[in-house]
Amino acid sequence: MDAGMSTPSYLKAQTRCPLQEHFLPRKSSKENLDRFIPNRSAMDFDYAHYALMEGRKGKDQSAAVSSPSKEAYRKQLAETMNLNHTRILAFRNKPQAPVDLLPTHHSASLHQQPKSVKPRRYIPQTSERTLDAPDIVDDFYLNLLDWGSANVLAIALDHTVYLWDASTGSTSELVTIDEEKGPVTSINWAPDGRHVAIGLNNSEVQLWDSASNRQLRTLNGCHQSRVGSLAWNNHILTTGGMDGQIVNNDVRIRSHIVETYRGHTQEVCGLKWSGSGQQLASGGNDNVVHIWDRSVASSNSTTQWLHRLEEHTSAVKALAWCPFQANLLATGGGGGDRTIKFWNSHTGACLNSVDTGSQVCSLLWSKNERELLSSHGFTQNQLTLWKYPSMVKMAELTGHTSRVLYMAQSPDGCTVASAAGDETLRFWNVFGVPETTKKAAPKTALEPFSHVNRIR
């Protein structure tokens, strides 16, 4: 109802929706569709050619061959048109190509990249940078370090969370938790690189906006004891507690608990979602690794795990999904186990087990090469770089004087940050030097029909 005052018309339009963006209404639905821009790589040239050339006989083939082949072609096209319920798959491990016995006269082969071993890159043996991390909690089961996609590192030192901007090198304090709630037991950046989840000793999880340094909400009631591990999957924040429970929280809605995974009998110290977001790996102090799959629907509130992997003989905190091979999970065991094991998360089979000689606190896969980095404790407190799948040691980086409990990888994939109970935070350019990882444009055009020189 009008309050009696008649607002002038030019003000009415402004006060209608204060925070909305102004959308220009489309004049007609077809306004932007007057130009068809073909996407060459998505075109089925077979069908297009057939549609244009219908009725034209092939000059060079005998008539006996062309009619049955046309029939088959027509039938094949009808099938191809139903491609929306077909998947085309190729086997991953291609066989060895035949060796060139005769020298070829094709000049193209000279310009190809040689298949020989790439020259080994130099891996600096010392940390590129060392920062102080006073009061960092030396507890194996916590996850106090994470590097967000906005290139900001978050580290929890006792009750305080600090943010270190990697591009500028500046430090800022995000929050200091109250004495009775803390210390901070886990920290994890959301995929957007802006929001960060903080797990506390009193079982609370706080959600903070790092851009405005504001707390957005607190998730209560997921656990009865401290929240030692966190993992994000889009809008789902998965929390792992000392009570052995894993809870999926939808941070957008009020009653945030959407699912509970029960299976661990002791503290959940490792939690990682796969790259596809379809599977979750969890490692606990009960020496068990569980793989949970989102497609396993739960009729009641508890969901059954997809795989239960019991081969480790010590707590499993180190978990890492392989970025270049789907369904491959690497896990590392603690002090009594000291092995890195590789699993096919689809079948649950153990593919490989390597004894490292020292407790495995953390694992990271390289995004650029087929390599795996593991961080260890007694006696060397080193970071070991392994070549995958041969598991040959490529480098051992020492510098820490106490077990390297926490590791995080930069968003560009070159640098690894590691923190230990010796109260230092070290940076290693182990996966590559930042400038040179910018790949050159691919040498061959990737479009499948780029070699077609006729445009019809």
Partner: protein, 209 residues
């Protein structure tokens, strides 16, 4: 192979049919590789199969590739999820697709759902496969020469709801632009019907302006 289906009765089970088809594919692929000279002749060894001297490649990596392939194809066939298998021959230097051997598979879904066996004479299936193998061998007469070194790949067209093991990735269909196509004989086990088609790139001198 007569061991899969009892020679006395001509009953064919889903499992047996899948085995026949995947085995056929393995031998057909080897035959294509030999006839199209993708791998040098010396790397093949002769075995007796389907009443014909068939050639199998000795190279370890290709052998393991084939065996992985056949076991996976067999699995998919038993589930009734496989639509076709395509063997693609590409130039090693440019990656251009030169030939495409298309094996289209039609599955009798009743057998997959209910598990009823079918009847067909083993000998007749053998005869049909023999005819295809002979045709593949004689295809050298009209297929264009592959002068350059080639590599091959195998694509599987499956239903979207199939369980894909981590060793298989999604791929593009690797079609040939303006292909010539030749339809070959097919065979039918009454559970799976396999059609064969080869499409190849036009020879240079055939092209119109």
């Amino acid at each position: 192979m007569a061991s899969k289906t009892a020679a006395a009765k001509d009953i064919i089970t889903l499992h047996g049919s899948a085995a026949i088809v995947s085995e056929f594919f393995c031998y057909a692929a080897n035959s294509i590789l030999y006839n199209r000279a993708v791998y040098p002749e010396e790397s093949f060894v002769k075995v007796k199969k389907y009443g014909l001297p068939m050639l199998l490649i000795e190279d370890e990596s290709v052998k393991s590739f084939m065996s992985n392939l056949t076991s996976q194809i067999s699995e998919w066939l038993e589930a009734g999820k496989l639509q076709r298998v395509v063997l693609v021959i590409m130039s090693k230097a440019t990656g251009e697709v030169l030939e495409r051997w298309n094996f289209r598979i039609e599955t009798d879904t009743e057998v997959v759902d209910k598990g009823v066996p079918r009847e067909k004479s083993d000998k007749e299936i053998m005869r049909e496969i023999q005819a295809i193998m002979r045709q593949v061998a004689s295809s050298v007469t009209y297929l264009p020469c592959l002068d350059e070194t080639c590599v091959f790949d195998v694509l599987a067209y499956t239903d979207t709801d199939v369980a894909v093991p981590f060793t298989w990735v999604d791929s593009d269909p690797k079609l040939i632009a303006n292909p010539q196509m030749v339809k070959l004989h097919g065979f039918d086990t009454k559970i799976h019907k396999v059609d064969t088609l080869v499409s190849y790139k036009n020879d240079e001198w055939d092209e119109e302006e």
